[in-house]
Symmetry: C2
Subunit: 268 residues, 2 copies
């Protein structure tokens, strides 16, 4: 492992990292940023291809042990102040990696027994999407499809909120909504939209078979045109005094209901 | 209703609003901030005592209709730029209210049939707490207790994430953890800690009776000493590849399992 100090803010790698704060440059380069030792460790563990590691001088002195046995050709060490300018958090951890956006084939989505796919439609908040990744992995989802118009899965805030879960399952991005629904339906999954106005309760819906759970935009939910592409609509019964649930919360309630139903059906 | 223009940044009301960004001054004055027409509307609807309304010139010209029929003695109109400095969001909505922190009696917590109390222990992230309020209201919780060491319920970020839910149910703040557990136990509630290492599954636990659901700190969870004060520990069964769930997500999965169990027990 080669250790290189970088002192110039105009260094090409540092410029690249600053560029990767932007979606357009992530898409152009096929690279994204991972910040913090824990998320970077997860990336290594899940065979995400890490390209470059940049650490602050303090991190290098005090915490370098956590990356010592990782397979990375070069580590660049920069002044703490310089690292702070590269980070997307206000309290940077002292380590940033560039990595290749993982490529997944559609087939990988259907490996579950039975498959449980999450279709995320036009969700805008990075924290919500990251939390959904974390929840989907915990609920043993077989994969996630992000429709066109959804926040970038490799946005640094999403990566941070996902806490490594983004690397633990196949994620397909930027698919038109109709195509996403059709694709999973062709594989034998029922396409189930979570829609607060639905008359069918989550608690009365059998989710033990192959299903895709579709979650809509935070503010707008689904359009009438969207709903033509789903097979069933379900709602989470809730207090009429309450206006709505956060989309990551709704997703969690539905996904863990699937977990519960599947555990029960196995134990019977 | 009196309409007063304010032009000086040193105006006493504006100084007070800036002060209310801080917990210490909220606690001293018994006041807090509500931002945005929707949350302020919810506060009026739930009889939160709104003291002062400050709006931007643009809001006053274009959106004043939404507050026209509200019972508020004075509205202060300030330059857009001045309002921006008062707001705690980077994209302020143009309207800020000061309001009295609602006072709730312990007795109000036990009104549910049967009661469902949420004890929030040492949660630090304002977004998590606000989301928990929203979720607790949606799950018909009879009330929420925040233990000592939890982020302030009236922190502007909490108020924002709660989207009005903070005003829809009794909230008791700053209670020592042991006292919170003892208090609900004395009222006949089982005290159930959500603890990822527990051997008992949420899905095998009867939650149809009077219960308090206890949620721990994001990073540390519960200490061994904390766990001595709970009656039972339950875990949400999850994918072993997943490290953990966000605390607001765990809370939602448990609370909506209570909803499900209670709906089923009624229908049988």
């Amino acid at each position: 492992m080669k250790v290189t100090p970088i002192t110039s803010p105009n260094n090409a790698l540092l410029k690249q990292i600053r560029g990767l704060h932007q979606r357009s440059l992530r898409e152009k380069s096929g690279l994204f940023l991972i910040e913090g030792p824990k998320a970077i460790g997860e990336a290594f563990d899940k065979n995400v291809r890490v390209r470059d590691l940049v650490v602050s001088e303090t991190f290098w002195k005090e915490e370098a042990a956590v990356i010592a046995d990782r397979d990375v050709p070069t580590i660049s060490v920069v002044a703490d102040k310089l690292l702070k300018e590269l980070a997307t958090t206000t309290t940077p951890s002292g380590i940033i990696a560039t990595a290749e956006v993982p490529h997944h084939e559609l087939d990988e989505l259907f490996s579950g027994q039975p498959p449980l796919v999450v279709i995320v439609h036009a969700i805008q908040d990075p924290g919500n999407l990251g939390t959904l990744f974390r929840t989907a992995l915990a609920a043993s989802a077989s994969g996630v499809i992000l429709t066109h118009g959804t926040v970038d899965a490799y946005n640094p805030k999403v990566v941070r909120a996902a806490m490594g879960a983004l690397f633990g399952m196949p994620v397909i991005t930027d698919m038109p909504f109709e195509k996403a629904c059709d694709t999973v339906r062709q594989r034998g999954l029922r396409v189930i939209g979570c829609e607060p106005t639905a008359t069918l309760s989550l608690f009365d819906t059998d989710l033990t078979g192959p299903v895709a759970i579709v979650l809509g935009n935070e503010g707008q939910g689904f359009t009438a045109a969207d709903l033509e592409h789903v097979d069933e609509q379900i709602a989470i019964p809730m207090n009429p005094k309450s206006e709505s649930l956060n989309v990551a919360i709704s997703g969690a309630v539905v996904l863990f209901n699937v977990v519960q139903q599947r555990l029960k059906s196995k134990s019977i």
